[in-house]
């Protein structure tokens, strides 16, 4: 579903992402881990077509994201670490806007808004303006908007920002369900416990290079402690 082929991004003489290649298949929850400044956000921004790679390519369901960005983005949902929301719109209006952009039918829109707002416990807040939402509510809204159109690939940068324990649990359940239905999930997080709980595969990046790529069961068969140990070993 997601294919990164020799992806490289240079800023002047500095190489932020260095010859990164990986595949994320449908139904996989891929945890992209690494210390600050390792190149995670740059990689994600290239996947979301916000940055163009210096060399290499990003393919989403076989479509080159930088050759046919509009087509590639039809299959993609991107949740940035600092999402943009129209403050003056209500939650429902924002979801309707996103549904229109993804050209959902009236039925699909109704169903999508109903299900996602129920899943993320947004229903009582839907008619309120986004400016009145708390940080956690905003995060739930943006996650609901991302899941509403059943994307083939979801890319999430730090999904747990501002979520309370219940919201976090809802997120995990929703993401697992989406993966079971064939969605590929690419997420970055600094919370190794989250990665251990939800990810089926994990990649570790350091100084722009992928230093590990394998199944979660391989790297931390005995629990999150082992993942943490391995992570520190590979990134220090």
């Amino acid at each position: 579903m997601l294919e990164l082929v020799s992806l490289t991004k240079k800023f002047g003489s500095f190489t932020a992402v260095d010859n990164l290649s990986l595949n994320v298949d449908a139904g996989t929850i891929f945890g992209f881990l690494g210390p600050n400044g390792a190149g995670k956000t740059t990689t994600i921004k290239m996947i979301a077509t916000l940055l163009k790679p210096t060399s290499g390519s990003v393919r989403i369901d076989g479509v080159d994201a930088h050759v046919s960005p509009e087509e590639a983005k039809r299959y993609l949902s991107y949740v940035p670490d600092q999402p943009f929301l129209y403050e003056k719109l209500s939650g429902k209006e924002f979801l309707l806007f996103v549904a229109n952009v993804y050209r959902l039918s009236v039925e699909e829109t109704k169903k999508g808004i109903g299900e996602c707002s129920a899943d993320f416990e947004l229903t009582p807040w839907l008619d309120k303006r986004i400016e009145d939402y708390s940080q956690g509510m905003r995060q739930r809204l943006i996650l609901a908007a991302a899941m509403m159109h059943s994307p083939r690939l979801v890319v999430i940068d730090e999904p747990m920002v501002g979520l309370d324990p219940k919201g976090a649990e809802t997120f995990k359940t929703r993401i697992r369900t989406a993966a079971r239905n064939g969605t590929a999930v690419f997420l970055t997080t600094h919370q190794l416990s989250l990665a251990w709980e939800v990810c089926t595969r994990v990649g570790i990046i350091r100084s722009g290079k992928l230093v590990y790529d394998g199944a979660m069961s391989e790297i931390s068969a005995d629990g999150v402690g082992e993942l943490e140990k391995k992570y520190l070993e590979l990134t220090s």
């Binding site: 800023f11 940055l51 509009e70 983005k73 003056k88 952009v101």
Partner: protein
């Protein structure tokens, strides 16, 4: 999809506008009053100037409309340049543009929506100015209907053409910046604008044209197109002015033809811009993002980042502001351009000589130079002082939660601006009397006027920056073109008009006595009182802004 996006944007504009009125009633009423006063001032000035030129100076309808063409050309250039600056911030470096670019929307549609956003942002003041000027024009000639139609078919397309040229230049600039360095590309654009403005003004020198037109006296109301330089035909502003000439003289065929040319230019340039956007926007968006990230990554890896604790003392705040200023290319670039313009103006001023005997015209000329000096100081203040408080942005909590006197913080915002701008005002004030040759007695008063401008304008602008503070606006260009900045500009222009008339009356007697009676400085204390009052108001509003509920 474009219509869907526009529908959302219009709804947002409506919601934001409505809320602005309901939440900040006094602020909105004040803004409305300012707009009305500004509208009335412009209306009166245009009507008076038209009356003076046609009945006192008797320059004739043809020359009058050529002066109008010159004014429209300046207006056209200002809109075009303003649109380049604001469009860069709105279309390329804006969180909404980033959001829209992650959605499956055609890049040209994103460009078009954000272009209108930037167009409304950068041209709203100009539209008020035009509306007021056209009303003044129509009230003199009594041709409300044709002037009203002119607004739609000769002025709006002109504004669209100017903004579209700005958009085209911006796209080409970013497109070429991959191959050329950004400095070279910007230098080329600046040279292009400066060159075309110089060429236009040189070809249409009002004094030369005046002499040429007067050869046809008394038939100076006739269309003397033979005197027009052929290059003028390329400027849409020329056809816009022609529309007004023909409609006023009752030549409807000429008016329709001129309007058609302006409309074709406006729509044509807009379509060319959209075509270029469909070809280049995605790529130029990536280029702009790349350059933004390059800077961020560059500063991260050169160890330039400072710890948050560094910002806790007023002197450290100054240091921080200076570092942030010089590391933001748009800030340092715009500042350099404005300083360069002031340098050019000073150079021209020292080379200029005014040999007129009429004391009325002499004092008018001096008051005009003063007004222009004041406008330069005011432009700097609007662009750089107005956004200062808003730019505290999302780190305002840092100041609010730290053991620091917010009054001192307000002063560290205001004082450096006053010191810098009053130095510039002083220099301009010193240079202002040079075109008047031997009238050295003008220098002390002129220096004092310049100094006062350097204190009064940054203070007024800072006060409005505090009253309309928006900590969510992180872009200095957008902040300085916001609604609050427009109101600050209008109020300051009103003050500038009052100050200019005081300067006029102060120097009139001096010129009347041929420099024997010194300039009347007895009212100088009023300037001092006004300056001190403005500083106190600025401090109070800055403090209010810093203490606002977050």
């Amino acid at each position: 999809m474009f219509l869907q996006l526009m529908k959302t944007k219009v709804r947002l504009l409506y919601l934001e506008g409505g809320e602005r009125v309901s939440r900040h009633l006094y602020r909105s009423l004040f803004s409305l009053a300012t707009f009305i006063v500004f509208w009335f001032l412009t209306f009166t000035v245009v009507r008076f100037a038209t009356q003076y030129l046609l009945t006192q100076a008797k320059i004739g309808l043809f020359l009058y409309h050529r002066l109008l063409a010159l004014a429209l050309f300046v207006f056209f250039t200002i809109i075009s340049v303003a649109n380049i600056l604001v469009a860069f911030a709105t279309v390329f470096r804006n969180s909404e543009a980033e959001f829209l670019n992650t959605l499956p929307i055609k890049s040209v549609e994103i460009f078009a929506v954000k272009f209108f956003d930037s167009f409304l942002y950068s041209s709203s003041l100009m539209m008020i100015l035009v509306l007021a000027a056209i009303s003044g024009y129509a009230s003199y000639f009594g041709n409300w209907l044709s002037a009203g139609i002119g607004l739609l078919v000769a002025v709006l397309p002109l504004i669209l053409a100017a903004a579209s040229i700005g958009g085209i230049v911006l796209l080409i600039l970013l497109k070429t910046s991959r191959k050329l360095s950004i400095r070279t590309a910007v230098g080329a654009v600046l040279t292009l604008y400066a060159g075309s403005t110089y060429l236009y003004v040189k070809l249409n020198n009002p004094f030369t044209l005046f002499t040429a037109v007067m050869k046809y006296y008394p038939h100076i109301d006739r269309y003397l197109g033979v005197l027009d330089p052929k290059l003028d035909y390329l400027a849409p502003s020329f056809w816009s002015a022609n529309y007004f000439y023909f409609s006023t003289t009752g030549n409807m065929i000429g008016a329709v033809a001129s309007a058609l040319i302006v409309c074709t230019a406006g729509i044509g340039l807009f379509l060319i811009m959209l075509k270029l956007a469909s070809l280049f926007y995605q790529e130029t968006f990536w280029t702009a993002r790349h350059k933004l990230f390059e800077r961020r990554v560059g500063s991260r890896h050169s160890g330039r980042r400072r710890s948050a604790r560094e910002t806790f003392r007023p002197m450290t705040l100054l240091k921080r502001d200076l570092l942030l200023f010089i590391r933001e290319p748009s800030q340092i670039f715009h500042f350099s351009v404005l300083i360069l313009l002031i340098g050019i103006f000073l150079f021209n001023l020292s080379a200029m000589r005014i040999y007129l005997a009429d004391p009325f015209i002499m004092s008018s000329a001096f008051a005009l130079i003063f007004a222009f000096n004041g406008f330069l100081v005011l432009s700097l203040a609007i662009r750089f002082v107005y956004p200062m408080l808003s730019l505290e942005g999302e780190t305002i909590w840092l100041l609010r939660s730290s053991p620091i006197n917010l009054g001192k913080v307000a002063c560290t915002r205001l004082m450096p601006a006053i010191v810098l701008l009053s130095s510039i005002g002083l220099t301009l004030g010193y240079a202002a009397p040079s075109p008047f040759g031997h009238f050295h007695g003008l220098i002390p008063s002129s220096v004092i006027y310049g100094l006062a401008c350097g204190i009064i304008f940054p203070s007024i602008v800072m006060a409005f920056g505090g009253a309309f503070v928006n900590y969510k606006e992180v872009n200095p260009v957008r902040a300085s073109s916001s609604h609050g900045a427009t109101v600050a500009l209008l109020v300051s222009l009103g003050v500038l008009v009052i100050l200019s008339s005081i300067v006029f009356s102060g120097t009139y007697r001096y010129f009347l006595s041929r420099g024997i009676i010194p300039v009347d400085l007895s009212g100088i204390w009023i300037w001092g009182v006004v300056a001190v009052f403005c500083v106190l108001i600025a401090r109070a509003f800055s403090l209010l802004a810093l203490k606002i509920d977050l």
